[in-house]
């Protein structure tokens, strides 16, 4: 059975990618499961989608803990603990990541034992078809999925979302397929997972406590600031001090997260540890003092997050 796990952020089309790959398998005569993991649905947050495909009936359910193929749509994800990108990766696990960096660099950085590939870069206007690129790239690594099956699956899954979207998605998916086609068949089916080796953990016996003790209580204020939501961002808003009119309230009030504070000299400061990159500030600043810079570029210029 193939066990395949897609990782991306909400909005990057991982659910669609899983569906395209699942449908391609189905068209190839496989029994298929494809499902995104239910969670709070929101943009920017780590999203998982799972595909299982087998020639035999599938009795496994739920999350995929030992994947044969991991596809990562956003190269910021491996650094986020909550994304669980590497969970269960072993010697047989093939790793496919959308990144401008070399595959060998990712292999070393993440200490991966299996093969590592990168997806070809997309143009700025193609980024919204990232899901199709991931599905296309994944299909290329699987011996049973040829280009016709992929194309049919893309048509079948994208058409209900808008027939005008089919051509662009198809182009991106096929380009990703073509770029990775030399590696066809790299991914191998994993063996059956059996419960026979299951060892029950050393359960701890916890006695019942008084409600006042056992009910969770948070005693410090605003502890949410421990969560670094700045990691969600793909672009960084930068304030051009020379154009800022020190109005002090516009960007600061409209920032949905309250991540822009104003100092006594009426100078706004963006808290990059928590700015999610929504760019409401950029759109609202009347003097256009705020610009969006790709996160990599900002980091390369030494702008500390």
């Amino acid at each position: 059975m193939y066990r395949i796990r897609f990782h991306g952020r909400g909005g990057q089309g991982m659910k669609t990618a899983g569906r395209i790959l699942g449908t391609a398998f189905f068209l190839a005569g496989f029994e298929v499961q494809d499902a995104p993991r239910y969670g709070a649905e929101r943009r920017g947050a780590p999203i998982f989608a799972y595909v299982r495909a087998s020639r035999n009936p599938i009795f496994e359910r739920g999350i995929i803990s030992r994947p044969d193929l991991i596809i990562v749509a956003d190269d910021h994800l491996p650094a986020m603990p909550g994304s669980g990108v590497l969970a269960g990766a072993g010697e047989q696990t093939v790793f496919l990541i959308y990144s401008n960096e070399e595959a060998s660099l990712w292999q070393e950085r993440l200490n991966l034992q299996g093969s590592v590939f990168t997806l070809p870069p997309l143009a700025e206007n193609e980024l919204r078809f990232r899901g199709a690129a991931c599905a296309g790239g994944a299909a290329a690594l699987l011996a049973e999925l040829d280009v016709e099956l992929l194309a049919e699956a893309v048509r079948e899954e994208i058409d209900p979302l808008g027939s005008e979207l089919v051509a662009d998605n198809l182009e991106v998916a096929l380009a990703a397929y073509a770029a990775l086609a030399v590696n066809r068949g790299t991914v191998h089916e994993g063996g059956p997972v059996s419960a026979i080796d299951y060892a029950s953990p050393d359960w701890l016996k916890l006695p019942c406590e008084e409600t006042l003790l056992s009910a969770p209580a948070i005693h410090a204020p605003a502890t949410s600031e421990m969560s670094q939501t700045g990691l969600w961002r793909s672009e960084r808003p930068l304030i051009d001090e020379s154009r800022c009119k020190r109005c002090w309230w516009i960007c600061s009030t409209f920032c949905p997260d309250g991540a822009i504070q104003v100092d006594e000299e009426r100078r706004p400061h963006i808290d990059y540890g928590h700015c999610k990159g929504c760019m409401v500030c950029l759109n609202q600043c009347p003097t256009h003092a705020i610009t969006a810079v790709p996160e990599e570029e900002a980091a390369a210029q030494g702008e500390k997050p």
């Binding site: 969560s227 009030t253 409209f254 929504c278 409401v280 609202q284």
Partner: protein
């Protein structure tokens, strides 16, 4: 509004007290509302949160609040508020809580709870003249679970449960009127895109007692399908097209606090959101757009 401390935009709070790092979506119109409201209400309140997107605000050990937060089931936030209010009153009576230490009891729910399964508990709380503030972030659907339609979903909107060329067949429930019919202390509509109007209304609600509703339109990039950066523009368009009338109810009278003049066409608002895309492609559904426009026009005719 001559008595408000919020005369000009520069009077708005410069310091924001709601903690950052919450898991709300980038560009969330509900969070934008909450952080503006919290700046005015201050730290001295207890939040009673019904199930919804904002349940995720306080997930142990993280909270963006400086004070207490209580989670209730979807239908029972006003009942939770009753318990908290009673508890505070008992402490006051016993001399264990001074007047200065008293807290504002604030119910926080989405439109699903406010218009649907929580409405009975809300109506009951109004029967009992419970002294509480109800903040509803109305993103016109069950956003936390993937934007299924709610009783607050507008006519023709596409949701996860109203797909197809016609969208949602029902009409948005008039929660403002339902509340006003109970003759409560205060009812107001707000939107984070109009922060001065919002600040004045929160300040006014704070000075009143009894049941008080702040009904906030909460543009939702995820559920309404628009770029997060357009969150404020969408809110402004909702006001400018007359789709979201800014108004308040006090002492049996409804006053409109910002009358858009001239009103923009509703299509400007509809076209900016993916959830109405089926009204414009593959072919423009003129009839339905005209119907939505006519409903808005009829509303404002009554106001004028």
């Amino acid at each position: 509004m001559s008595d408000t401390p919020y005369q000009h935009l520069r009077d708005l709070p410069a310091h924001h007290i709601l903690g950052t790092g919450t898991p709300m979506c980038a560009g969330c119109g509900g969070l934008a509302t909450l952080h503006q409201v919290y700046d005015i209400l201050g730290e001295k309140c207890v939040i009673i949160n019904a199930a919804g997107c904002m349940t995720l605000l306080s997930v142990y050990p993280c909270t963006p609040f400086h004070g207490s937060w209580l989670y209730t089931a979807m239908a029972s936030a006003p009942a939770g508020a009753q318990g908290v209010r009673d508890g505070l009153d008992i402490l006051k009576k016993k001399g264990r809580l001074s007047r200065e230490e008293d807290l504002e009891v604030v119910v926080l729910t989405g439109d699903g709870s406010a218009n649907g399964m929580g409405l009975s508990a809300t109506s009951g709380a109004m029967d009992r003249n419970l002294d509480f503030l109800y903040l509803c972030y109305d993103n016109e659907g069950y956003g936390n679970t993937g934007q299924q339609y709610s009783a607050a979903t507008p006519h023709a909107a596409r949701t996860a449960t109203s797909k197809g060329s016609l969208g949602y067949p029902g009409y948005k429930k008039d929660l403002f009127a339902i509340w006003a019919a109970h003759n409560p202390g205060y009812v107001a509509t707000v939107v984070a895109a109009e922060p001065l109007d919002l600040a004045r209304k929160i300040e006014r609600a704070r000075g009143l007692s009894g049941p008080r509703l702040i009904l906030a339109l909460a543009p939702c990039p995820t559920g309404w399908d628009f770029e997060p950066s357009a969150s404020v523009e969408i809110g402004k368009l909702a006001v400018a097209t007359g789709i979201w009338p800014l108004k308040e109810y006090v002492d049996g009278r409804v006053t409109h606090t910002k009358i858009p003049h001239p009103r923009l066409e509703v299509r400007d608002y509809l076209k900016a959101q993916g959830r109405f895309a089926h009204l414009f492609a593959p072919r423009e559904n003129r009839k339905m757009i005209a119907e939505i426009q006519a409903r808005v026009d009829r509303y404002w005719q009554k106001v004028d």
